[in-house]
């Protein structure tokens, strides 16, 4: 069962990053975070916030081209962007399982494209444009699985 952890209305890239920082502080190694939303709705900005909260100093750039970027700071981060992936098999070919079942926080942009092969215990975040104005974004953070229930239920 998917449960909503938090619903956020962001009015700028900075506010989206802040939402990522907030979530990042609650994360543990091995967590899988799925980001879903159209181009330009703030998925990479949100990831920048998560990375900051994890103590990663490097600039988080888009992994669209290489599919995955790896970062090491206070914690490890595997940042996926599967926008370019046509078939989940292509991900197995780059060692998807080794990246996902690991001691790193795993962020997957465009996760809806490969939903079937992502572990069931996951945080699922949707980004959509708010009807009000060009910069408004609705961000809904939900979670499923025992892994998150004890940690997140008190916060809902």
């Amino acid at each position: 069962m998917k449960k909503v952890l938090k619903q956020i209305i962001s009015n700028s890239e900075e506010e989206t990053k802040n939402a990522g920082r907030w979530l990042g502080r609650l994360l543990k190694p091995g967590d899988v975070i799925c980001l879903v939303g159209e181009l330009g709705t703030g998925k990479t900005a949100f990831t920048k916030g998560i990375a900051e909260a994890l103590g990663i100093q490097e600039i988080i750039t888009s992994p669209t081209f290489t599919i995955v970027n790896e970062y090491k700071g206070g914690s490890k981060l595997h940042h996926f962007d599967v926008y370019r992936v046509n078939d989940p098999d292509e991900l197995y070919n780059i060692g998807f399982e080794e990246y996902v079942y690991s001691d790193a926080v795993v962020v997957i942009e465009w996760a809806d494209l490969i939903s079937d092969i992502i572990p069931d215990e996951r945080i699922w975040i949707t980004f959509s444009r708010d009807a009000q104005g060009e910069n408004g974004r609705n961000i809904i953070i939900s979670f499923q699985g025992k892994r998150f229930e004890n940690r997140f239920m008190p916060l809902t």
């Binding site: 159209e38 181009l39 330009g40 990479t44 900005a45 490097e58 600039i59 750039t61 888009s62 669209t64 081209f65 290489t66 599919i67 995955v68 970027n69 790896e70 970062y71 370019r84 992936v85 046509n86 078939d87 098999d89 292509e90 070919n93 780059i94 060692g95 444009r129 060009e134």
Partner: protein, 338 residues
């Protein structure tokens, strides 16, 4: 002086490539997996992204490179291989092959940084070109301005803080329905459009020559959505031309500024976006104002290939900088890091 022959191997992303280069400047062979009729010869499909396919392709590609050069593995003076940045699984295939071959014939192994390879592609294209110069590296995965101080010393003067330039082209092409690859499609459409039709943002930073192309992608998307919401049609050619002009403005201004700051009279372009005709025209025009000369390699040397790796390896070879057999793949390898 004896000729130095280097076998180069490149598997950092999609392409499996091997090449033989003489003295860092002359290509004897440069095989890229997609050029071989693998389907016919080895059966099966070559997927777009499939690093484990590198395993199947690497040996036939190396064999092809040696036979096209008319040489044997024993004729090589060293083996150069990309060890980062890139996908770890993909890099490891090339690296393991290179180590095995180097060990078998008792020749030195040389680790090459992928971007240093892109820069070295220009040494092949322009036999007289020597550092120092400024290099603008622009591709689907990279956007860097590098001060190449000598063959082995690099300083990054600017890099992207979010999307790479080529990535912005691909994404915008998708938004306006031009398909993949986006670079050539936008370049073509833009020729029939008005680059002043829409004023897309140009992002410059006060404290550096860094790039940011994520905002312009969002701006194009907002423009398209609002226009359609109002019940109007978008003019694809105008959007393409206006977008391209905004990206090129930033690339050109920062590259020229980098050259002026480092008193360099040469700007060298590398990476797939170097093929963009508007970038070429604009960079030529701006550079001329300051007496800066611009260099572009041919397209085949702009995209990932092993000849560029062999060329970069040559300059390591003549300095005697060899790798140990425990050389590992480093997916996030920084430029100039060794």
């Amino acid at each position: 002086m004896k000729d130095i022959l280097i076998l180069g191997i490149e598997t950092s992303c999609d392409e499996t490539s091997a090449a033989v280069v003489r003295n860092g400047r002359e290509i004897l062979s440069n095989i890229i997996s997609t050029q071989i009729d693998i389907h016919k010869k080895y059966g099966g499909v070559v997927p777009e992204i499939a690093s484990r396919k590198h395993v199947e392709l690497i040996l036939p590609v190396i064999d092809n490179a040696l036979s096209e050069a008319g040489l044997e593995l024993h004729d090589m003076d060293a083996i150069g291989v990309t060890y980062g940045p890139g996908l770890v699984g993909a890099l490891l295939v090339g690296l393991c092959a290179a180590k095995a071959l180097a060990y078998t014939v008792g020749k030195p192994l040389i680790g090459v940084h992928h971007i240093e390879g892109h820069i070295a592609a220009n040494y092949i294209e322009f036999p007289g070109l020597e550092p120092p110069f400024i290099c603008l590296v622009v591709s689907g995965g990279h956007s860097h301005i590098v001060h190449v101080k000598n063959y082995r010393e690099f300083e990054i003067l600017g890099q992207t803080r979010d999307d790479a330039a080529g990535e912005a082209f691909d994404k915008v092409a998708r938004i306006i329905g031009l398909g993949y690859p986006g670079g050539p499609a936008i370049d073509r459409a833009a020729k029939n459009g008005n680059k002043n039709a829409i004023n897309f943002p140009r992002v410059f930073f006060n404290d550096s020559l860094d790039f940011s192309f994520s905002g312009i992608k969002t701006a194009v998307l907002n423009y398209v959505n609002t226009t359609i919401q109002k019940g109007n049609n978008i003019c694809v050619e105008d959007v393409a031309a206006s977008f391209q002009a905004a990206v090129v403005d930033v690339l050109v201004q920062n590259a020229v500024e980098a050259a002026r700051r480092s008193n360099s009279d040469k700007v060298v372009v590398a990476g797939g976006v170097a093929a963009n005709s508007f970038l070429r025209a604009k960079l030529n025009e701006e550079s001329q104002k300051y007496g800066i000369k611009v260099f572009y390699p041919r397209l085949g040397l702009c995209t990932d290939n092993a000849a560029m790796v062999a060329s970069a390896a040559y300059y390591e070879y003549i300095e005697g900088k060899f790798a140990e057999m425990n050389l590992n793949a480093i997916p996030g390898l920084r430029l100039g890091e060794r």
